[in-house]
């Protein structure tokens, strides 16, 4: 197990493109950190810098207090699991899992014990004599993980390991990774663009955009108190609805609706009286029943929930909205549903940051 400290990490490529800006984080022993963000946000680059596959332009990387900023990958005692598994096709599962230890010239009997133990953990014992081409995607990914486990590294790095799997397999393999983390108690860094993976796996999430860290926090913190508009829009499925509202007295006024503020909201937005703010409402925080009319465009039944896509309308102006209602609904295009907002988030229009009590 290991503690990792990332201090002011920058990555600037030779063509002067900066992929990561001033990345700071302390990873605690046994923690599972998920780096999440859209494609090109710098999350994989950060992971590769930690693994030593990319040079660190500025900053320091400490593992258990030891500076490994310039250490070659082989000396970092980390194991990386890639999206495309990176298994050797001509070797059996056993040989693939034993390969890194064979290169280190470890005792063959010790290698054997370690491989069998890892195979047992990953339920691969019956597959050890097979070639990767004879395995399913999920099994191949388990082999890739097994190859990491046998090394007993200080740190596990996962670079979008589930992206090549279908939805059902992704869900079961995700659970296996979670169980593995609990069983090994290992420190893990996991990169994904899938927020479901991030929310279900992480002890803490690092949300990134355009090379900048937007927020670091527990899944609940990111969901409940997003630091800015980007995090609010990225975390949550379907994404949060945003409206421009005017803070006026006890009311929030938009062209489509007027909402009366609670005393807490009034206190929170005291400095914004007479100004516009961005109001965010998650689809699941919009409930049927209320005085705000939504014109239904279409209806998606998901079994337990129904997603209702619609819009607010005033004259020519329109604003799209997505609502997530409990149960099975049968709204049709053109229906009008009366709704109310249960929980609202407020963001400064200039900075995009969450408005917090001063």
């Amino acid at each position: 197990m290991a503690q990792l400290s990332l201090q002011h990490l920058d990555k600037i490529y030779d063509n002067k493109v900066q992929a990561v800006y001033d990345f700071n984080m302390e990873v605690k022993d046994g923690e599972l950190i998920v780096l999440v963000g859209p494609s090109g946000c710098g999350k994989s680059t950060t992971l590769r810098m930690i693994a030593g596959l990319e040079d660190i332009t500025n900053g320091k990387l400490l593992l258990d207090g030891k500076d490994i900023t310039a250490a070659p990958p082989k000396d970092r005692d980390m194991a990386m699991v890639f999206q495309n598994y990176a298994l050797y096709g001509h070797m059996t599962v056993y040989e693939n899992m034993a390969f890194s230890l064979t290169l280190r010239k470890e005792d063959p009997n010790v290698i054997h014990k370690k491989v069998l133990a890892a195979a047992e953990i990953l339920d691969l014992t019956s597959q050890l004599n097979k070639k990767p081409s004879q395995l399913s995607g999920g099994q191949r990914q388990r082999v890739a993980m097994g190859r990491s486990i046998v090394r007993s590294p200080k740190l596990f790095l996962f670079d979008e390991p589930l992206s090549n799997l279908d939805a059902k397999l992704r869900s079961s393999t995700r659970r296996e990774i979670l169980l593995l983390h609990k069983r090994l108690g290992a420190t893990m860094l996991y990169v994904t663009h899938d927020q479901t993976e991030a929310l279900t796996l992480a002890d803490r999430i690092v949300c990134m955009s355009m090379g900048h860290v937007q927020q670091i926090g527990t899944p609940l913190e990111l969901y409940d108190t997003p630091a800015n508009l980007f995090v609010a829009s990225f975390i949550g499925l379907p994404p949060m609805n945003f409206f421009q509202v005017l803070v006026s007295g006890d009311h929030l006024i938009s062209p489509y609706f007027t909402v009366t503020m609670s005393p807490e909201q009034k206190q929170l937005l005291a400095e914004y009286q007479g100004k516009h703010v961005t109001m965010g409402v998650r689809p699941e925080n919009i409930q049927e029943g209320g005085d705000i009319p939504v014109n239904v465009s279409d209806n998606e039944n998901l079994g337990m929930n129904t997603l209702v896509h619609g819009h607010f309308k005033t004259g020519e102006a329109e604003s799209r909205v997505t609502c997530k209602f409990k149960g099975w609904c049968d709204y049709k295009k053109g229906d009008v549903v009366q709704v109310s907002f249960q929980k609202m988030h407020f963001f400064d229009q200039t900075t995009g940051n969450r408005i917090v009590k001063s």
Partner: protein, 172 residues
């Protein structure tokens, strides 16, 4: 006895693990020895027909020798692959083919070494002693490799079979 040597003594657990490894590891030693037998035979094959003394080799035997060498290479390659995956029958075939390598010493090399012919007005040996020794060494090396491959293969196959039997028994 120093510590390093003490550590090398095999415990019962080590022995169990060593045999258990065979369930997943290929019998590379037997396989490599079989391939080595092909290499030695190839050296024999390219050396045997070198002669400066006319047409002594031009008989039906040279054709048979070429065909046997081709068959040998093919069969021993199959032995190499078979013994790699602990198939004991291939090891038995290896013993036969290995023994034949020793028999071959008494066919071409011996006949050619004993034969004399007339060249440039003189009576000379068809195969001089240095060449004879060389090709005999190649054949012996090839035969030894094959028999060693077979013995190791049989030992490992038997041990693995016994181990698997014990595992089946303990599961039942």
């Amino acid at each position: 006895m120093n510590d390093a040597r003490v550590n090398k003594l095999e415990t019962a657990d080590d022995k169990y693990v060593r045999v258990d490894r065979m369930r997943y590891e290929k019998n590379k030693l037997s396989s490599t020895l079989a391939i080595l037998a092909i290499v030695w035979n190839a050296l024999f094959f390219v050396s045997i027909y070198k002669s400066d003394v006319g047409v002594w080799y031009y008989s039906i035997l040279v054709g048979a020798s070429i065909v046997y060498n081709l068959l040998f290479m093919m069969i021993v390659f199959l032995i190499s692959e078979g013994s790699k995956s602990y198939k004991i029958n291939y090891s038995y075939v290896a013993i036969v083919v290995g023994a034949l390598q020793f028999v071959r010493i008494f066919i071409y090399p011996r006949l050619a070494h004993a034969a004399q012919t007339q060249a440039t007005g003189e009576i000379v040996q068809v195969m001089k002693t240095p060449q004879y020794v060389r090709v005999v060494v190649y054949l012996i090396a090839s035969g030894i490799c094959l028999i060693a491959s077979a013995v190791i293969g049989i030992q490992k196959c038997t041990a693995l079979k016994k181990h698997m039997g014990q595992m089946q028994g303990s599961k039942a």
